[in-house]
């Protein structure tokens, strides 16, 4: 087993898989390694909201291009372009919504404000307590639990090897490149891409690099199947609610409410004290949700650095090593920024600039 790869990718989430496919298409021989199953990290448990309305202004061009990638993936990932409404219930929220959506529209998202009548016509079951609502026809969702299945198939099609249940526990640099110690033996590669999501800090530490990565512990809940209640993606001015009803009738509720735990300790824990207000907010927006039974709540780790912009580029201080992660709204942007990362490693000029992992994080 002295297989030598052009690049080893640590992490089989959306970032690692999308990059691997781009590099394979460009003629490289990558291998993807994941400590668990493909797409069972953040990429497999996220709320799946593909909403431009909740993207950061500076990331809007990436999100817009990400949307095109999702459209192309289509049914295989449960993609639906439904349009989406973001709601404000208080004067303060109205102000916040106007201020934020204006900047996002300027950045290229086709966001408009709609009248209460238009909102009621489109979403008759929403509360009548809405003071203002913005609309974006590009918004939609995908089914994140299909991420693993989807990329497993795509990697197989592209003949990209991947190993599941294969944690990387040590990395050594030598003349030929990198030797990775894994639960399934050693793996050699000329280059290395760290795409380990919320686990980037310990993975980079194997190469002696300290990345200032923190993890948020986001919570998502899902109900049993319900009769049709809503047909678009519903958000809240503060970003603390995302809600959509899937084709099968289940309603998925997220919004970044925090559970507890750390990536190092394993799975995070749901906290009743945050699930409750999250469901209260959802029910406030959609009163008929009151009758729905919640079947499952779960958490996932979303990585970030202090300025909340991506890490995408060369790993500082280690030649031939790269890092991709900490992308806010990373599910939406992942398929596109993964391509950019692949291009960068292939030696091509990326279409949009990457985000230097060696920057000073406290600038913004």
């Amino acid at each position: 087993m002295t297989d030598h790869y052009d690049i080893a990718i640590i992490g089989g989430g959306i970032m690692g898989c999308a990059s691997a496919l781009q590099m394979a298409a460009g003629g490289m021989r990558p291998i993807v390694l994941d400590q668990g199953d493909l797409g069972q990290g953040a990429s497999g448990v996220n709320a799946g909201t593909l909403s431009l309305q909740i993207k950061r202004v500076k990331l809007m061009p990436y999100a817009l291009r990400g949307h095109h990638e999702w459209e192309a993936m289509g049914d295989a990932v449960g993609f639906r372009k439904t349009g989406g409404y973001t709601l404000a219930f208080t004067e303060r929220e109205v102000e916040l919504l106007h201020e934020r959506q204006k900047l996002k529209a300027e950045a290229g998202a086709p966001i408009t404000f709609v009248s209460n009548n238009a909102l009621r016509a489109a979403e008759p079951n929403l509360t009548h307590k809405v003071l203002a609502a913005s609309y974006c026809p590009e918004d939609g969702y995908a089914n994140s639990s299909l991420t693993g299945q989807y990329f497993r198939g795509r990697l197989q099609d592209a003949v990209v090897p991947y190993r599941e249940g294969c944690p990387v526990t040590a990395v050594a640099r030598n003349a030929q490149g990198f030797e990775l110690t894994t639960a399934q033996g050693s793996i050699w590669a000329t280059r290395l891409l760290l795409a380990a999501g919320a686990w980037l800090k310990p993975v980079a530490a194997m190469l002696g690099v300290d990345l200032p990565v923190n993890a948020r512990i986001n919570t998502v809940s899902v109900t049993e199947r319900m009769l049709p209640l809503t047909s678009t993606v519903i958000g809240h001015a503060t970003g603390l609610l995302t809600m959509k009803q899937k084709a099968n009738g289940t309603v998925l509720v997220g919004g970044g409410w925090q559970g507890r735990g750390t990536p190092q300790e394993g799975r995070g824990e749901v906290m009743a004290e945050t699930v409750k207000p999250n469901m209260a907010l959802a029910q406030f927006a959609l009163p008929a949700l009151a009758k729905a039974r919640v079947l499952r709540s779960w958490t996932g780790f979303e990585a970030n650095v202090p300025d909340f912009y991506p890490l995408a580029g060369a790993l500082p201080g280690v030649e031939d090593a790269f890092v991709l992660g900490c992308v806010r709204g990373g599910y939406t942007i992942g398929p596109y920024i993964g391509k950019l990362m692949g291009d960068f490693i292939l030696g091509r000029e990326p279409d949009l600039p990457l985000f230097d992992p060696g920057r000073d994080f406290h600038e913004d």
Binding site: S145, G148, G165, E269, M279, R293
Partner: protein, 473 residues
């Protein structure tokens, strides 16, 4: 309005009720929670309130005694209450409950889990036809409602329950078309030595079998029901002989019946223990994946105790004694001197556990059992997934129960995977040629029971929602 207790007990079966009683005797404030209205658990389930009188059985007598003991004690019993979430805090545990559509939180310094077991049914063609019910599930019908599964019933499955169910059907005036069990008389001879420690229980079992034989009910040893026929309701079942590994051999024969009780042993309910933070290990002789628990109910977490069938299937008699030990240990953790009392229970526990484990062994699945499921058999009832759907997903590379769940929604329905995951894990292990111990159940997710959104939201004022600072622009 959070209530605070010294000890909270989840599950008021023989294990939990006895744990609560033992701890309360030492002066601790004990809360006993169960989703059923009255204590008794599965085995000593109380009759529905609508039934005013019925002949006594050993189960009803034991249940009555237990309910009286709880009533006469200082234990605070709260029935009709589902526990949906458990959180460990620095000073103890938060237990989140649902009663009459309202959620509440109780705090306790120590937590005793006694959630019992659930039934395992290996899916066979036609098992979702109305008229097919679980073997253990049937006992709930008898005990709670004095109802029969049908007029003419085939009773099929492993272990002693098959004889208990058949003789209960007869006692309640029903007809048993046949008793079909994969176990052979040799299997039973093999466990006799372990049963001698509890001659009382052995004698009861012998009575069930004698009653069936005297009544001329066909007893098909070493056989299994392989299919249920009928559209909309059961019209008959097919039966085949099994080899030593429970692989069907020989021809199929039909038995006319309008109902079928089917079961292949019990699986410990471990989700509460998982939420509390205990890792699982595969112990087939205990009924499947279980947390590490001492005979006296202690776990690796010093204020968490586990007892009864939820710690491994050892039966009601062992559950009762392990419950007492768990309760005494919780009391000891809180400062009571109970070491002597615990030691006194060890021997009787060992005897009862030996008996119970011998019964569990009769249900321990053998390699052929899985072949009762055909490609067209529905395996996940909530999502109507057939065996062939699951095998296709596994063949495409899904190598864990989590991966199959994500890809197919197998286990994402209202049952939360309680009824399909064991069969699915075995399918994955077989397809990838890996030991079953490599394929753990999926990550547990709260709530332990479905909770209405309105109950989670509660009465709230929008302006009081604790809305954090919005994300950076």
């Amino acid at each position: 309005m959070t209530e605070s207790y010294d000890i909270a007990v989840i599950g008021a079966g023989p294990a939990g009720a006895n744990a609560a009683l033992s701890a309360a005797k030492h002066g601790f404030r004990v809360l006993l929670l169960d989703e059923q209205p009255a204590p008794g658990g599965q085995v000593w389930r109380a009759k529905s309130a609508a039934i005013l009188s019925a002949p006594a059985t050993p189960e009803s007598r034991a249940g009555k005694a237990l309910r009286a003991a709880v009533r006469d004690s200082d234990v605070h019993h709260q029935g009709n209450t589902r526990v949906w979430q458990i959180e460990r805090q620095s000073a103890g545990w938060d237990v989140h409950t649902l009663t009459d559509g309202q959620t509440a939180k109780v705090m306790a310094k120590a937590l005793i889990l006694s959630p019992g077991a659930r039934e395992f049914v290996q899916p066979i063609p036609g098992w979702t036809t109305p008229g097919v019910i679980g073997l253990a599930g049937a006992t709930a019908l008898f005990k709670r409602d004095l109802l029969l599964p049908g007029n003419r019933t085939v009773v099929s499955g492993t272990g002693p329950l098959v004889f208990f169910v058949a003789s209960e059907i007869r006692r309640l005036g029903g007809q048993v078309a046949a008793v079909v069990t994969p176990n052979t008389r040799r299997d039973w001879l093999g466990v006799l030595p372990a049963m001698r420690g509890r001659p009382d229980l052995l004698a009861r079992g012998a009575l069930w079998v004698a009653d069936l034989m005297l009544a001329g009910v066909p007893l098909l040893w070493g056989h299994s029901v392989t299919a249920a026929q009928g559209q909309g309701s059961v019209s008959g079942v097919s039966v085949r002989k099994l080899d030593r590994n429970w692989e069907p051999i020989g021809g199929e024969r039909g038995i006319e019946a309008d109902s079928l009780c089917l079961g292949h042993g019990l699986i410990p309910n471990v989700e509460a223990a998982q939420l509390a933070g205990l890792p699982l290990h595969l112990r087939p002789e205990l009924g499947g994946w279980v947390p590490e628990v001492g005979a006296d109910g202690r776990t690796q977490i010093d204020n968490l105790f586990l007892c009864g069938d939820g710690a491994g299937i050892r039966g009601a008699a062992a559950a009762e004694i392990q419950g007492k030990m768990a309760g005494l240990n919780a009391a000891r953790h809180l400062g009571a001197d109970t070491a002597g009392a615990i030691a006194e229970l060890q021997q009787s526990y060992a005897r009862a556990a030996r008996f119970g484990l011998a019964m569990t062994k009769l249900s321990q699945p053998r390699s052929g059992l899985s072949s009762l499921t055909t490609p067209d058999t529905v395996v996940c009832r909530c999502e109507s997934l057939k065996q062939s759907d699951i095998l296709a997903e596994v063949a495409s590379g899904a190598g864990s129960t989590n991966a199959v769940k994500s890809g197919l929604r197998a286990g994402m329905g209202p049952c939360g995977g309680k009824y399909c995951q064991t069969a699915i894990a075995r399918m994955i292990a077989a397809a990838h040629d890996r030991p079953e111990g490599d394929i753990p159940p999926p990550t547990p997710r709260p709530p332990l029971r479905p909770v209405p959104a309105s109950a989670l939201a509660g009465d709230f004022d929008y302006n009081d929602l604790p809305i954090p600072k919005p994300a950076p622009l």
